[in-house]
Symmetry: C2
Subunit: 176 residues, 2 copies
């Protein structure tokens, strides 16, 4: 779904973090109480009749949307984090960056086998991060019900990487 | 307020991140849907009759509680972040770490003069982080109504550093 009112609250920052990239700055949406509320409410409407046991989000911006949805869906909230942030036993997955690799971790006791999981992030770009998060959840036996994003950058084809799941994004961009 | 049921959902990790420190791991509270809901509801009850324009939280764990409270209080949400994370114009404040210093930033347009602000974080320890966040908000002209925390480590006396504001914490520890 494309929502033009919501889209207008996202700030475009040309050449950030580097030349040729238009960064989609969601802080202007977040600070606008109506836009923030609307973005949550639209996502909630999509899943409110579905049983969700855990909402999983990737640090840090993903936490902002994931925690509110967990609360509203009456689910637990599970953070996926960069290495050395989670203090108990973890499993990890690597994913590719433009140059090099990065790693995400989840606590081994974060999800119980068979639990129904909604994965929430602010942005679907190349899909590397969210694919790693999905692999972590499935290694723990979680059943991924859907992936929800505030923003999707269609031209990066991240959807292709996680097309095995239902995907919902609120604001889509067809080009930089 | 000390809530023993909530406290029991926090996992204690001895000697993390180093010997002699007991890390209070809130991921076990977050994944427990009743405990997560209760922690939010108790904080919400405290402020629901107060006009709050913006909720400000420090990355990353602070986002988890701050965003839900912003939603429930019908306020905007403002992230305070480490350097180079916020893409538009920012101001910054330094704060002391055990060894060295760190920096926090806020977007200059995040808060309008006179707006009423609730600052939310997961943990009040030495108070350095939250004090820097308060200074950022006040430099933008925000009026800080209160500070809310999930956990307070009383023995580190962080409250002293921000005693100029009303402070509310849900779970308090008197020693490591």
């Amino acid at each position: 779904m494309v929502d033009d009112n919501l889209r207008q609250t996202v700030r475009n920052i040309p050449d950030f973090p580097k030349k040729g990239i238009v960064f989609r700055d969601i802080t202007t949406l977040l600070k606008d109480k109506e836009a923030f509320r609307k973005s949550i409410d639209i996502l909630f409407e999509k899943y409110k009749t579905v049983q969700i046991d855990k909402v999983v989000s990737v640090e840090s911006r993903g936490f902002i949307f994931g925690s509110v949805l967990a609360y509203k869906l009456n689910a637990g909230f599970v953070p996926v984090r960069k290495p050395k942030k989670l203090p108990s036993a973890t499993i990890r997955e690597e994913y590719d960056l433009e140059y090099g690799k990065d790693i995400l971790e989840i606590h081994t006791d974060a999800i119980t086998k068979g639990e129904r999981v909604l994965i929430v992030d602010d942005l679907l770009a190349t899909g590397g991060t969210i694919d790693a998060a999905c692999r972590l959840v499935e290694r723990l036996g979680g059943e991924i019900i859907a992936l929800a994003f505030l923003i999707e950058l269609n031209f990066l084809n991240g959807r292709k990487k996680v097309e095995r799941y239902p995907i919902h994004s609120l604001i889509q961009y067809d080009s930089e």
